[in-house]
Symmetry: C2
Subunit: 151 residues, 2 copies
DNA sequence: ACAAGTATCTCGCTCAACGAGAGAATATGG
DNA sequence: CCATATTCTCTCGTTGAGCGAGATACTTGT
């Protein structure tokens, strides 16, 4: 086995994993009447809510690389589905706060909950040192991809 | 540090990595006048070409979850960009073979080449045992996600 | 030869996202 | 303070990827 074969197999494994995760998300979205963009937005909003950050349509559109018109449409859809609510920012009344509704939390739980449980369960077959190695590996790969973006 | 915190951090790391890879692909696609679907199709076609498999519009559409009309449009776009060529299958003349052009190989090289090199380079900081652990980890995670699909 | 099956393509439509710009609120320079 | 620039969101008209339905061309089983 040459020096470069194992790394190449890992690269393909990595790509295969992202494909599976994407497909999983797409299937979940479709079975809940959401578009892929809606699911990405929901994930972003739930992450921000958990971190205690305020998200405005502007920030959301920036994160998803949508222009303002597309963002308005997206927020309209999510609001129509009862997943979020618009609230004027009392401090700066040009701004709109996107408030996540209870229903969105439940939906997120349905999406992540089961999968996360299974993933954590599968990690039980690895000891602490192995998990630390996996963590270091994922961090290194993430850094490479992040650095490769915007070049 | 509790039993469940490190696995949770790994789950988020995994998701972060797929997000970075998706964004990388989206940016590459946009800067080459391709749509996300076009890039996914190109990846599928290049993989198949490397494995020596014949891809027809039907198989491509199935892989990308497009219906026949959407697939025809996709193939039209790729053909218009000079990335692939339609060829009637001489054995079964209902079928069309999608032949990858040289230009597509070069584009794929431009997309993967640099990133793969960087990824493989970063793997140089891990010894063989660690890479084996990473491989086992990625395989386990992929299995979990694949199993979670279609349930 | 004919019916049934398979592979691809055409037609008309829907709707997510785009570009341009309007409207409302806030910041800033004279 | 008032005029002007800036910021944030939304509206309007358009484009185009992808869908459903069905036409067309070829193959296979009887």
């Amino acid at each position: 086995m040459s020096d470069v074969e194992e790394p190449m197999r890992l690269v393909h494994l990595l790509r295969g994993l992202t494909v599976e995760l994407d497909l999983f998300g797409a299937e979940f979205a479709a079975s809940n009447g959401l578009h892929p963009t809606d699911l990405r937005a929901l994930i972003h909003l739930l992450d921000a809510a958990r971190a205690g950050e305020v998200v405005t349509p502007g920030r959301l559109g920036e994160a998803l690389r949508l222009n303002s018109a597309g963002t308005t449409g997206l927020v309209d859809r999510l609001e129509g589905l009862g997943l979020i609510r618009r609230e004027r920012d009392p401090g700066d009344r040009r701004k709109v706060r996107l408030v996540v509704e209870e229903r969105a939390m439940e939906l997120g739980e349905g999406f992540f909950g089961g999968l996360i449980g299974d993933l954590v369960g599968a990690m039980g077959r690895f000891d602490a040192a192995e998990l630390a190695t996996a963590r270091r590996f994922l961090l290194a790969m993430t850094e490479v991809v992040a650095a490769a973006r915007g070049m």
